[in-house]
Each structure stands twice: as structure tokens, then as C-alpha cells.
Symmetry: C2
Subunit: 442 residues, 2 copies
């Protein structure tokens, strides 16, 4: 008999069905036993007698039974299948579960963060935890979809790299046969090279940072959604592409992830007709006028500045997102394009949302000799950039791009407190699946 | 003025257009100069006088001009835009190229393999090289599309792992703060864990093998297209899913990549109504009868056996693909499900095509205690599999899955001689972008 998913049962009232899944909860009322069966589509209530009584939470079962309406007073409005239930005729246990380390039946999973990750194979099964990764899937899928529509080619770039290109301290070293190699901190140089091939490219790339501190915003391995585009007439074209991408992602989440947003009582960021844009210096001036905090000489926005300027954007424009542009040249990577009108500042931007950075990007230097000069000025050796420089030696159009952290966007959309919650198997200096204290020293 | 792509010009005869791209070739005929302009969509011929004469191959240009029909005797049937040309009125050089190290204007790029990769930023721009990665993009996109249709969830799994789980020798070590960690050899254990969460999952995961030899079929970093599905009623369901996926990929290539196949004079594998299936022992028997080569006691197919059985499948069934099933238990990983009818053999399979392996997969052990026993029997420690074993401790349905190498499939479809050609930036023991001889020792 073919399997029916829990969510499909609402169309099968009066019919015999076969259901498979996990025991999510069990309740007894006199002789009757109620079991919530969980499968990938949702939850459905099973009703039966004695034979259901021996089931344990998380057992995997395969049942046959008849779908029927629940009595009006027993309808559960919180459940998609809340108006119906399945009366069990046949029951088979496919896999018996051991005792659980914590209660998984509640609407929230009430465990500490270490426990959440110590039992990750189990905690991920909780509907609210699982929902995080359906939202993430939508973000990623929407990112790809809109960029393909815009003529971008998806590329696959490597993560083992021959040299350290963007700051040396926070990089992981690999023993590579009798040599050493490194884990990529970003796909930046490769996506730029590929502008020379496909003009418009995007890639989903793991990025690695040997971040030696534990914060709520950093992990050692994360997923970057990276894009790069050539033949731009101006820096603003990149910003406009980011705006298009972000709006499309929000639209897809709104369409496909209503239930998930509801679980988190989350709302998508408010957006004005056009996302406001400010130069960094203008932002500092506004912050000074609003708070008296004088950071007008600082070369970057501090976290408190980012929160303040987001508050301002919301009050003034009704937008929870704002582009900050023209960061100082010395604070940005060597490849960043200096503003021709004022080379102390760059054609770069961050998209801030709800007080933190969501996207970073900018125009890049596309002239070979300028790039060589910048590499030296930033204290690097052109020899270490042989392949990268080739792309500019043999003709590179004006170009730029951006990067969006998949976990960070998931975190911000759902209002999670820690970025680790937005990673299936988060890595940091204290954990790779298990706590590192358990792993032998090198 | 808005830009027009080369491929769009065929609809703009008589119109003024702006075209941007690279100089792909240049020819002079008396006073007239002909330039092939290459952009992401293809190639178009530009015609002009003196000002085009100073252009160099690979210069990036931005031109305005009028589209017109070519005289009948000058039509180029090999080019999509072969019936037209653009008469240049305005020319701007966006980026001037230096002298090229080799000729890039021919239909084939006639360079040695080392040169191909020494100048990768340039060689990738050749239309025939570029075509490889458009085919690869289609393979990857089709893989995702069919699996989403089949109810799979796309997941993102990490590549830094705490222990070596599938053979210890060929693994890369990372210095992870004051500990050691490893680069994942496959996403196997994570995708299995995720069956407990989403039932059906797939992931695109970089896999790393410290392969200490140079072959035409191996790289140290490659892209695996991995899928895993729960609640299977039988081992055959996995094989059927593979067949569905492979057919869908071929269909998409046939629809979207006609031009690219033509460039390589490549044809998609012939398929019979149903891809034939043979047990490994049956295959050995057939090979023995056909060739007299008696490998009937061997525990795996040798490369020559794989080629022979593919020849047989093509002759007998008209199929260039064949499933070989039931490999011996001792030759497969610890998690492989032994055939209940004969536990010396496993419910596993390889899909062979054109003489080599394309896909590998099988049913997995889903019973906790059996899995613990196998881990020990295979010489591993259950403690090293803590997170993985959790997934089985708390209820796991019968499940299985498969993996398809993105580069290998690209190579086989196009008939490339070396798998490196199917990787944008291939890594092996002699090269990470540049030749490793140039990189300092660890």
C-alpha cells in the first residue's frame, strides 16, 4: 500500500491510508491512546487502543488506518491536520528508540545551547528547529533563482587554496602532502576570475575563519552566497542587484514559509519603496546629531553605530534595511575600487538590517597595474596572486559583487539569538559536532 | 544606451545597438577590419575601419553600431549570429589586454594540459572550455530540480570533521586551534543523520581525498552530488531514484546544451527502456564466458571488467549504462546493508557508464545495535561516531542513498580525457592553481 504524508491526509477523510513517521507525543485517555505521528510534511494524530500504548517517543512506525473528522470540541487549530485524525488498524515498528535525554514534545525545545548541539541528531528533529532549515533552504533557492533570471552562471570554486589572501591570522592550515595549504576565507578571487569567463557568476561557497573567540555571530565554517558581475556602468548597479536579490528572497519566504515564520513569531523586515542609502560619513554625522556620540573621525561603524543608524532608517523611512556606502579605502581589502571623486573612500557598501550587517560588497579594481600596486601597498606579494592577476592582465571589464551569509540571514529573518542555531552542525573553537575537549591534541 | 548581448543581435537587424565583450579574433581585408566580439551569450562579428585595427586579442571593448545582414557569400553557418554583423560607429576600450601566451582564436585550444592550468584564468575563456562548465551547471541544476520534485530537502553540511570515518590514509589534516581536525571525505554520515530530520535530503558537498598519485580520474577536491532517502520499502527504490535522476539530467542536457554537445561532438549515453541490472557475481560470470578471464572469485570488478560489462550491456540491451549490484560486504563501508538473503553480499550498487563508475549507492544499516557491531568489526571505535549513532539510537527508518561526482559526470558526458578538465580550478598532489613546486614546504 502506498504511503500518504501527514499533510495529505486532510484530503482523505473517510479513506484508508498508510502513514509512516516518528512518534512525536503520546497521550492516554482511559482505553484510548493518542499518538502524534511526525513525518517530513507535518504532524497527524493517531488514535488507537492497547497496541499504541507500548509505543515510545521517537519510535519509527508504519501504520495503516482510516482518516476521520475529529469531534468539534477536539479540533486543534494550531495543527494543519487539526480537524482530523487517523484510526489505527495495523501497526508496525520500523525502528525502536531508546530513552530520550530531554522532552521533545513541547512547542519549544527547552534545552541549553550546549545540549542543543550535544544532541544535534535529535534536536534537529524538533519541528521548530527543523523549520529554521526550511527557511534557509528557501533563502538559498531564491538566491539562485533570481540570479539565474538575471543572467548569472552558477560556478563551483575550490576551498583548498595555495596562499592567504585576506589577512593572515585567522586562517586554517592544511598539511597538503609535504607542503602546506590553507582553507579559503572566501571565494572572492575565484569569482572575480570567473567574471572574465561568464561575466555574471554566483557561487555557494564554504568559507573558513579560524576565529579564536566565541561570539554569538561567528562560526569557523559558514556558507557564503557570493555573486559577481562585470560590465557595470556604475557602482550603483551592484547595490540595485543586491536590493533585487534581497527583495526576491523575502518574497519567497513570505510565499513558502508562512508556517515557519509563525512558529518563531517572526516578521520579514519592513522595506520602504527603495532601501535608503547613506555614505558612512553621513551616517556618522546623523548618529552624532542623534546621540551626541562623536565617531565622525572613526574609519568604520561600531556595532552601536550600526544599531543606531538602523533605528534612524526605520523612523525616517520605515525601512529595517539600509545601505551604508563609501567606507574608507584603508579599511577595505586591496581589491576595492577607490571612489574616483575621493580616493580616500571606496565604492563599497554594507547592507545593514536590524542593527547588523547582512550583505557586504562593492566595485573592484579592474585595471591590472592598479591592482598590482594595491597588492604591494597592502603588504602582499603579487607572486602570490599569479592566477588572479592573469584575469586582469588579459582584459577585465569594470566589475563588482557582493556576499551574503546564509546562516546570518536565516538568523536575522527568524530573530535567532545565536548564529549557531542557523547551522545544522555548527563549528567553533570549542566544538566540531562533539566538544573539542574530547578530541585529541595535534 | 542599454547593452545588447551578442545572441540577441539576430533580432535587431537594422537597429542601433551597444555591445560589450572581449576581442576574440581580428582579421583585416584591405581597409576593412573584422573583429569577433565574445560575450557571455556568444560571438558576433564587428566590422569597421582603422579604429578597429589597433585592437588586440582579449581587449575588453564597449562599442555602438548598427546590426546588418552579411552578404550571402560571407555567412558563417557555424555561428549563431553567422548571418549578421555589426557595423561599428563608436568604440571604447574598457580594459587593454597584454600579449597572450598562446593563440585563443581557434575552434580548439591547442595547448598542453599543464599550460591549460598554468593559464587557467585565460584558458577558461575559450568557448569550448567554457562550454564544459555550462554542461556542469545543467547537471547540478537538474539534480536539484528533480530531487526537489521528489520531496527532497536541500541541506548544507560541514566539511571540517572531527574524525576519520572512511579509511584513514587518504585524508587531509587541519591544524584546528590547538587540536587536529580533518577535511571530510564525503557528506555520508551527515546526510544519513538528516534522514532522521527531513526523510529525504540532498546536498552538494566538497569532498577531499589526499590521493597521493596522479591519475586522469582523481583530484584532491571534488564536488559530490549526494542524496539520501528514508522509508524505503526495498533496496530497489534507491536504484529507481537514481535512474529517474540520471534520465532527468540527460533530458535537461539534451534540451539546454545542444550547442555545447556539438562543440565536443558528444552524444548522451544511449539508454534502453530500463537500465539493465546485474549482480556483481553474474557480471563476472558473463565476463568469464565472453573473455575467458576468470575473476569470478574476486571481490570487486577490475577496470577492465567494468569496460567489458559495459560493452555487453550495449550489445545486449542497447544501453550505455548498467547497474551492478550486490558487492561483497567486506569490500563496502561499515554502514552498508547486508543482503538478508545472503549477508556475504550487500544491498549496494554502482551505476557504470561507458566503462567507468558514475554513481555509487546502497541501502544503509538503520538498526542501532547492528551499526555499533559493524563499526567495531570494521576496526573503528563507536565513540568516534557519537553524533552519527544518536540518529539511530532515537529511531531511524530503513534508508539508503547515492552519490554522483559532478566532475566525473561532466567528463563522461562530454568525453573528456582528464577529469581535471571538468574542474574550474583542479587540485591534485602537484597543483593548487599554481604548480606546487612553487609553494613552500610545511
Amino acid at each position: 500500500m502506498e504511503r500518504t504524508l501527514a499533510a495529505e491526509t486532510i484530503k482523505k477523510i473517510g479513506k484508508k491510508v498508510r502513514l509512516c513517521g516518528w512518534v512525536n507525543a503520546r497521550r492516554a485517555h482511559g482505553k484510548l491512546v493518542f499518538v502524534d505521528l511526525r513525518d517530513r510534511s507535518g504532524i497527524i494524530q493517531l488514535v488507537g487502543e492497547k497496541k499504541l500504548g507500548k509505543l515510545r517517543i521517537s519510535d519509527v512506525i508504519d501504520v495503516q488506518g482510516k482518516v476521520r473528522k475529529r469531534p468539534a470540541n477536539l479540533v486543534n487549530p494550531k495543527l494543519l491536520t487539526g480537524k482530523i485524525e487517523a484510526e489505527v488498524k495495523k501497526l508496525k515498528i520500523l525502528s525502536a528508540a531508546q530513552d530520550l535525554p530531554f522532552d521533545t514534545g513541547g512547542e519549544d525545545l527547552k534545552v541549553s545551547l550546549p545540549t542543543l548541539f550535544d544532541y544535534r541528531a535529535l534536536s534537529l528533529r524538533h519541528p521548530k528547529v527543523r523549520a529554521i532549515f526550511k527557511v534557509q533552504e528557501t533563502i538559498i533557492t531564491a538566491f539562485r533563482e533570481i540570479l539565474k533570471k538575471e543572467g548569472f552562471t552558477e560556478i563551483q570554486v575550490p576551498t583548498i587554496v595555495p596562499s592567504v589572501t585576506e589577512g593572515g591570522a585567522q586562517v586554517f592550515k592544511i598539511k597538503y602532502f609535504d607542503k602546506e595549504a590553507f582553507l579559503a576565507q572566501s571565494p572572492q578571487l575565484y569569482k572575480q576570475i570567473m567574471v572574465g569567463v561568464f561575466e555574471r557568476v554566483f557561487t555557494l561557497a564554504h568559507a573558513y575563519r579560524a576565529e579564536p573567540s566565541i561570539t554569538t555571530r561567528h562560526m569557523t565554517e559558514y556558507l557564503g552566497l557570493d555573486a559577481e558581475m562585470g560590465f557595470i556602468d556604475s557602482f550603483e548597479e551592484i547595490i540595485e542587484m543586491v536590493e533585487k536579490v534581497v527583495r526576491f528572497i523575502f518574497q519567497k519566504i513570505a510565499e513558502e514559509r508562512k508556517e515557519e515564520l509563525k512558529l518563531f513569531k517572526a516578521t520579514l523586515p519592513k522595506l520602504s519603496q527603495k532601501i535608503p542609502r547613506l555614505k558612512m560619513r553621513e551616517a556618522q554625522e546623523i548618529i552624532y546629531r542623534r546621540t551626541g556620540r562623536d565617531n565622525r573621525k572613526e574609519s568604520d561603524l561600531e556595532p552601536e553605530d550600526e544599531r543606531e543608524i538602523c533605528r534612524w532608517a526605520l523612523e525616517k523611512y520605515g525601512s529595517e534595511l539600509i545601505f551604508i556606502t563609501h567606507y574608507p579605502t584603508k579599511k577595505r581589502p586591496f581589491y576595492t575600487y577607490p571612489d574616483p571623486k575621493d580616493p580616500e573612500y571606496t565604492c563599497s557598501f554594507d547592507l545593514l538590517g536590524r542593527g547588523v550587517e547582512w550583505v557586504t560588497g562593492g566595485q573592484r579594481i579592474n585595471d591590472y597595474q592598479t591592482l598590482v600596486d594595491h597588492i604591494k601597498k597592502w603588504g602582499n606579494k603579487p607572486e602570490d596572486f599569479e592566477l588572479y592577476l592573469q584575469a586582469f592582465k588579459y582584459g577585465m571589464p569594470p566589475e563588482g559583487g557582493f556576499c551574503l551569509g546564509a546562516e546570518r540571514m536565516t538568523m536575522q529573518v527568524l530573530g535567532l539569538e545565536n548564529i549557531r542555531e542557523a547551522s545544522l552542525f555548527p563549528r567553533d573553537m570549542e566544538r566540531i559536532d562533539v566538544r573539542l575537549a574530547k578530541i585529541k591534541k595535534s
